[in-house]
Amino acid sequence: MTGKGYRPRPFDLGKGRWIAGAIIVANFCIVLVLPMITLLWMALLPFLRGFSLAALPLLSFKNFRTVFTEPGYVELATNSLLVAGAAATIIMAITALAGWIAARRGPGGWALDQLATLSLVFPGICLGVAVMEVYLRVPLPIYGTLWIIAIAYVIRFMPYGMRYVYSGVLQLHHELEEAAGVAGAGALMTLRRIVAPLLSPAIVAGWLFIFLVANKELAIAVLLASPGSQVIAVSIFDLWVNGQGGELAAFGLIWTVLMTVIACLFFVQGRRGGTDVFGN
């Protein structure tokens, strides 16, 4: 983004658009529609069985009812949203500053970048074990609470936040910040009045991405979650292990719808604000 006008330009695919369209639709079916139909089928049946006409009379909403009425599920959902939301917020707050310093080659910028990206090389399980070990030993009473999961998420997903902010900053023409400096603004003022607002689409997009990914993170959660602090990914895994396929499918579907609605809300909000949350 520069100080000059910028408008994306659609380009004409000609005849190729039909082929491109067909590929997109086919892809959409395989990746999304088929699995969703399968899930729906599973959710509507009391026990697992393949597609067949004979099974039609057995269809019911019982599994959905269970999910909505049993308090365990509601608490689970709240926990998950809280942890993912907290982790995403903490990460974006840290990386908004760190990513800017790194992208602008400020003092220690390179080190910050490396440090924040380091966790990318650890498998989730290793990170989970490491965090668990640390908080079993230090006298902070967060082991067995949601906080420890949030902390592990922050470490694990920090690189994504860093990437979002970093590339966001690179899209800002440096002269936008320099103009603020010449106009009399100090570094903090420039950050607050110029960089932060211009970077907000990238920050919001990063937040949403981390929020969505954190909600399905299993490796860390499975190690750090305890009975009082369950999160969704773990309990879905448990349901599967316990053979409660129907409830799993119902819960999974509801969760998917919820996540989609959240993503759409962001999208609509971004559109209204004149900025594009997804990417640009």
Binding site: E178, G184, A185
Partner: protein, 363 residues
């Protein structure tokens, strides 16, 4: 008053070993001057401007505005960028897209050090700046909904709203189309005279520099190679580089014939034996290799017998108001611009007639 002395900033370029930057740039500007840094791309104009603005830390030198030291390498003084009180228009304009036109222009008033004007005062100053640049009534527009010319005006309004002592403009017209550029050129100059602000203007366009400036510094490879008013630069180029850069001058190589004092008239003998009368800005001794610059429009075409230099017309092109001739003189081609009423055919033998004052020895 602006004083820049021995300003040096070297970029160690790891890749092509060609260290860019500026070397020992000096100039003094009286109050209210429109000063232009002119030179080809990469000669160090932007670097000079950024060092004055405080966006770049020079390796050495001194920058003074009035008697206020902005930078001095001796005493290790460097006033931070945001305390210099300078106005600047960037090449990209750097209009903040998340603000309205009004907010963009009000920004310098709101964030400056020291006492800030109140709400009403800000409104008044912004309106005044808007009307100065001819954008009255545009305050509420989102900054993204402006044409190129309007963005340029907003950038200018933002740079002058806090009444800076010094205004820096980095190729502000290079992003505009030709017609608008002509118009803004005149307007920018009018505006500068109206508010009387000392201005450093950066451009690579010599006609822009000649039309607008009180003083011009021509730069080459990080150094100022000539400084003077537009007529001096145009009619008395100091060296071959300036002569070439400032416009289509003919450059004839020869040797000095007889000792000449600085500022006097002398003679240069060209390779083919012709002896022409020239103006010598600097003293020269007999036998010194010399380059003579003659402008195409200073040369008249006459009878071959009546001129020291003669040749044959090799090519002609009708340009509407004028005719351009390429005249073969010995082994070289001399360009001549003549009146359009009379056209001389190719192949005709002609004499090249010009006053000694129009033939300048440029070393």
């Amino acid at each position: 008053m602006l004083t820049v002395r021995a300003l040096t900033k070297i970029y160690a370029n790891r890749f092509d070993a060609q260290a860019g930057g500026v070397r020992s740039v000096s100039f003094d500007l009286p109050q209210g001057t429109f000063f232009t840094l002119l030179g080809p791309s990469g000669c160090g104009k932007t670097t000079t401007l950024r060092c004055v603005a405080g966006l770049e830390r020079p390796d050495g030198g001194t920058v003074l505005v009035g008697d206020r030291v902005l930078f001095d390498s001796e005493s290790k003084t460097a006033v931070p960028l945001n305390e210099r009180g300078i106005g600047m228009v960037f090449q990209s304009y750097a209009i903040w897209p998340h603000m309205t036109v009004f907010e963009n222009i009000a920004f310098p008033l709101r964030v400056g050090k020291g006492q800030r004007p109140g709400r009403e005062e800000i409104g008044r100053l912004v309106d005044q700046a808007l009307s100065t640049v001819g954008l009255s009534g545009y305050g509420d527009r989102p900054a993204t909904r402006l044409s190129g010319g309007q963005q340029q005006r907003v950038a200018l309004a933002r740079a002058i709203v806090h009444r800076p002592k010094l205004l820096l403009l980095d190729e502000p017209l290079s992003n505009l189309d030709a017609a608008l550029r002509e118009e803004m050129r005149i307007e920018l100059r009018r505006l500068q005279q109206q508010i009387g602000v000392m201005t450093i203007y950066v451009t690579h366009d010599q006609s822009e520099a000649l039309a607008m400036s009180d003083q011009i510094a021509v730069m080459e490879k990080g150094r100022v190679v000539q400084m003077g008013d537009p007529r001096e630069i145009y009619f008395r180029p100091a060296n071959e580089f300036v002569a070439r850069f400032i416009g289509a001058a003919n450059l004839l190589h020869g040797v000095c014939d007889g000792d000449v004092a600085a500022g006097a008239e002398g003679h240069v003998r060209l390779a083919d034996g012709a002896r022409i009368a020239c103006h010598f800005p600097r003293a020269a001794t007999s036998g010194k290799p010399s380059v003579v610059a003659i402008r195409p429009e200073s040369i008249g075409l006459t009878d071959p017998a009546r001129a020291a230099l003669h040749g044959t017309i090799a090519a002609t092109s009708f340009l509407g108001g004028t005719v351009r001739y390429d005249v073969a003189v010995g082994g070289l081609t001399v360009r001549v611009v003549g009146a359009a009423e009379r056209m001389i055919a190719s192949g005709t033998g002609v004499g090249l007639d010009f006053p000694a004052s129009a033939a300048v020895v440029v070393d």
